[in-house]
Point group: C3
Chain length 259, copies 3
Amino acid sequence: MAIITLTTDLGSKDFYQAALKGSILSILPTANIIDITHEVPSFNISYAAFVLKNTYPYFPKGTVHLIGIDSVFSENTRYMALKHHDHYFVGADNGIFSLLFDEAPEELVELNIMQDLKYLHFPLVDIFVKAAIHLAKGGKLKDIGVPAEKVEERMLLQPVIERDIIRGSVIYIDTFCNVITNITKDLFTKIQRNRDFTLYFRKSETITQLSWHYNEVPEGEKLCLFGISNHLEIAINKGKASGLLGLHLSDIVRVEFHS
Amino acid sequence: MAIITLTTDLGSKDFYQAALKGSILSILPTANIIDITHEVPSFNISYAAFVLKNTYPYFPKGTVHLIGIDSVFSENTRYMALKHHDHYFVGADNGIFSLLFDEAPEELVELNIMQDLKYLHFPLVDIFVKAAIHLAKGGKLKDIGVPAEKVEERMLLQPVIERDIIRGSVIYIDTFCNVITNITKDLFTKIQRNRDFTLYFRKSETITQLSWHYNEVPEGEKLCLFGISNHLEIAINKGKASGLLGLHLSDIVRVEFHS
Amino acid sequence: MAIITLTTDLGSKDFYQAALKGSILSILPTANIIDITHEVPSFNISYAAFVLKNTYPYFPKGTVHLIGIDSVFSENTRYMALKHHDHYFVGADNGIFSLLFDEAPEELVELNIMQDLKYLHFPLVDIFVKAAIHLAKGGKLKDIGVPAEKVEERMLLQPVIERDIIRGSVIYIDTFCNVITNITKDLFTKIQRNRDFTLYFRKSETITQLSWHYNEVPEGEKLCLFGISNHLEIAINKGKASGLLGLHLSDIVRVEFHS
């Protein structure tokens, strides 16, 4: 049974995401539709990319990931389908694809499926669905589009490295209010070279120890660790770090390594 | 695999909607259960009708739509099942059926399935589930109920037309904070007769152009268009119209056509 | 098709619950995954227990219920699987199992599946998924763990009985703002012995009648009944009782029976 996942900002109180599911089932009644999330903040491409980038590797190879963010028609909008790491992705070329992968996609086409005028405002239920189902049924990319050179680039704020210091920022706050930064484990390890460190945030908060687990410190105490997404994360054992520590999206954090 | 959709006000934090799914799967383990939404505001029949009316046509013919709004038992409550446009609907006769369709349902029965006393407070998991599964398996309406003449009528506020003016009102605000009115494309076109128009709302806001797409105006600018639901909609390109323009449910809008 | 239900505090805006689903589908592509809820407040074991206890009996026998609450690794954490009433449950031994059942589980093992280091922070997608799938495919408990004597006990506040009085408390407030107490129908009936009663709550509110249905009183009036969960519940017909009556979690209610 072909798996099609959905990552959208359509919410779950309106009829939009259900219409999308109905459209898929109308063409492929056996499709196994899995919601990644419909709670992406409206038009927030980097949020959607963070969620999908961290989710898709858990799915079986051959899964088709349909991305419904910022996909309304305009003269310059290109709709794309691509294959990467044996997964398929369908969405608008609004920059999200450059945030999903660290390299160029292995195979990339610009869709040339004709838009049904009936669904002018809703390419998701028309072009995207047709493309996703074609791929879910084992069809080839070249049969639904023309080869494309590259996707639109969008840059995220990257950590800045100054000798023994990494300056990063908060990129995501999860349901548990854990605070996730843009400092990856790879970067941290590369600069650390086994030295001690101090993590600074807010005016005067510091953490000097990397934890393996949230519950290595007493309940209510702050800690930092590399979480499931392999990003440096500031948390409170069984507490809500973002609120209690006053950390918000885009706030700066600083790691200093001691020689 | 039979598709059964769910439209309820049960929310997703309690055990109610999961109990409903479990009940379906206990009788028909192969049922393909699709959530339309469980986020209908409590007892809000017109909200549920708007969502389901705009969703069901996207689903395959033969789909069974189970409606779990305002369905608790009382002496006068009738539980109904009906067929319309090759879709099936099961729910309480509380007025929602008159809001779902512009015409009388093609085939209508009042359910005569006996209520299991064990589920006295929860007809959804008992009578409704049994009826929905009967229909999903290809059963006939007449085998689960007695023919009924008509459904309870509920009237929505309709737009008022005075020669060159349409007075409508806001009936729905979606996840994107787009403001949807009760003025349909059909009505608008009929009164417009190719004339220019001015859309008035709030104290002094006006729009004089119909857009085809949300992004035909610069980001942050207001626009109006006929959206996915074919209702006149006031939006802001990539902005939250209801908040920024101060438009709420039931607010009045006025369209004047210029001779 | 094997049914695996999910009860977690992972929320639906992050990638966690979708990663969990992907992990299941990667091993068992035909799994029928049903969300009980992902909206359990973080780490709230008694909330999760109340929801799952009231839901699981609606599901077919043989269903596997995966519980993802408070399951991060620590030296003392035991991961368990058990069979009870022909249902299977997989989760961390944090006390939730003692709240789910009134008796000891029929068959209980401590899982001895090795943790994949890659998923150190996320036993849910590794150990729990492997155990759940083993059981969903008809495997035996003894093949994934070693027999265990008992689960960790956690006590909930129980009602106090003083001759003709039951003192209980509010344990749950649902989506409709119905107020659910820890006084069960069994307890109430046992102490009542067909006598009249007065239910006291807040400073001076009283109810002296048990309703069968929410709509036995006029709209906007308060009532009490034994709801779907068979707990004494305070409600307002088509109104939001918790807000309107000022009743919150842990508030005390008192039932006095009159000789």
